[in-house]
Symmetry: C2
Subunit: 336 residues, 2 copies
DNA sequence: ACAGCTTTTGGTAACGATAACATAAAGATT
DNA sequence: AATCTTTATGTTATCGTTACCAAAAGCTGT
């Protein structure tokens, strides 16, 4: 089986030099219309496909942007990657995607693998990484963008928000409705650092108001699923039946909690208020609709893309772009 | 700013030749333990990162597997890509992912872009492509795997199922419960070819039983969302109030339909049965749980990975692997 | 000590594209 | 007509890695 044709083959077929072929493949090159046509025809006849690998080696530019997310199976991250990918694709850049499984060790391995492909920038989810991972990224001398978080010691640019602060918003909302016995459903590991930040924010917000924050339901390792949200609510209804409101680490678990209430005949929001995070589509469709926080995932992706595309401004001090999440009040918490 | 160190730099620092460095980077190479250690130390000191681009050019192997999905933001496709990515990653292969937006023209562009990266195999969602796209893939002389479908004229291997047949299962289930006035909620374009196949399968299953299949609600272009499922059900309740059951093109729209019923005070399944497709997590958590079809997305991904990894068997005639979807009976359709 | 192994090491030439320079042909200017 | 531009084309070297071959070094047994 013969190897795929190269520019050399096209050049021979078109009766020109390789350089002319190379120029004809681009838009700007100064090539006569006639030569360009011959090259085009030869390329079509031979089924020539441009070899990006060779060009990348020569140009020392790959057009890859490495992106890591905890999991692909999450509408928030998918939205971010979608926005990022669309914006970058329009400029000829390719997203090289990897999932860390909410595990910094896995992230370290992944980043190591991705850097071998010589990406032109790295977009990470979260601001928590192993020392070796930070080290590799620092040495790579390419733009690094951390997202979904506001790390104290960022590696480079940041596009994110304070997860803790969103819980202040949510606790404020609930207490303004006269609810004080508030539970939090989340993971019981710190693997999902954003989830852990939200839990910390919840504890701080409760403490600030002198409220007891002893209703913590930990459901294991991330991602915390709908099923786990339902199980958590079932436990809560038995173990702490006087709970007035539940904040869940995400809309998925909040929906599970909602379903558990429906099964148990607990009225939402009258007997129990439920709040989530993420503004997933389900929040606006379920009955009642979910009170949640919209972190604007595609805005995060778009902002990251803008930073990458404005490469020339990358020499400037690292940017810290805050995307302000919005409280979305639904029917799962009481009206004023 | 200096360029990142190369093997040459490492070789100089370690006092050996580039070839020795190259060998030391791999496992099997015959290198003395002492040289290997010196190379390792030098690489660490210099912050050397292997350049996969150069190696790929030389080896004529990129380790890329191109994968296209209609959208990232879909748990079924995310599951498939996740399974594929995990299985391939263990063998050092990298998924190069692209989203077509349910658009064959976009798919064509995407495949063109991906092929320039010289992937070693291509995994496509669906079996419907533009002529030029089919042509490019045929000429690429690499394994092509079409998934989620059983095309009549496959481009290569196939890992899928008959979308139409799943609707026969579903109609059979509903009619066995004595329901005959059945509606179908889906898109009104053929962009989502799998959705369109399911609609066709629905029509055929109804015709086979001599039932009228005139309750078709078309909700525009894919993806059909929860919101659109809710709108469709709202319309249906007004326009065809005697409808007994609704089959939705996916669990997302089915859940929307369920919510619309809840809002309208329509009891499910007593007044209206609802069925979906996809066995998304929501189907097993919502109240009532959804009757749906599980297409086993991660089994599809795993099977595709197996085909790719068994490269040597790729010369054999194209394989056609059927993954049999399973009817999952939930509370949204009446018990027997 | 020496032939006959195996193991380790190094030099050279690719892989397929393009930047940089050099040259030739055509067109514009005096 | 002679010179200066501009445009079109070709030649050479290179990006960082590895296959291939050849040579050197380390072993073994006589």
């Amino acid at each position: 089986m013969p190897r795929p044709p190269t520019m050399k083959d096209v050049a021979r077929a078109a009766g020109v030099s390789v350089m002319t072929v190379s120029r004809a493949m681009k838009d700007g090159g100064s090539v006569s219309a006639e030569a360009r046509a011959r090259v085009g025809a030869a390329a079509r006849d031979l089924g020539y496909v441009f070899d990006a690998t060779a060009a990348n080696l020569r140009l020392q530019r790959t057009g890859f942007i490495a992106v890591t997310v905890p999991t692909l199976n999450n509408a928030n991250f998918a939205d971010m990657v979608g926005a990022l990918s669309r914006a970058l694709g329009a400029e000829g850049l390719q997203v090289l995607l990897g999932a860390t499984g909410y595990d910094v060790a896995q992230e370290e391995r992944l980043v190591g693998q991705l850097l071998r492909r010589r990406p032109e920038a790295v977009v990470l989810t979260g601001g928590s990484h192993t020392a070796h991972c930070r080290d590799m990224l620092a040495k790579a001398a390419i733009p690094v963008i951390e997202t979904w978080d506001l790390p104290d010691e960022p590696l480079g640019h940041v596009v994110g928000f304070s997860n803790a602060a969103t819980m202040e918003m949510m606790v404020q909302h609930l207490t303004s409705r006269g609810l004080h016995r508030i539970a939090f459903v989340g993971g019981d590991t710190n693997q999902d650092t954003r989830g852990a930040d939200r839990k910390r924010g919840f504890l701080a917000a409760m403490a600030r108001r002198g409220l007891a924050a002893d209703r913590l339901i930990g459901m294991g390792a991330p991602p915390i699923s709908m099923r786990q949200g339902a199980d958590a609510m079932a436990r809560l209804l038995v173990e702490m039946p006087d709970t007035q409101a539940v904040i869940c680490v995400s809309d998925l678990s909040a929906f599970g909690a909602l379903s558990a209430c429906a099964r148990a005949g607990v009225r939402v929001p009258d007997d129990m208020a439920v709040a989530g995070f993420g503004a997933y589509e389900i929040a606006s469709v379920c009955v009642p609709t979910l009170t949640t926080i919209d972190p604007f995932p595609s805005a995060i992706g778009a902002a990251a893309a803008r930073l990458i595309l404005a490469r020339d401004t990358m020499d400037q001090p690292f940017q810290r772009i805050e995307v302000t999440p919005r409280l979305v009040i639904g029917g799962s918490t009481p009206a004023r």
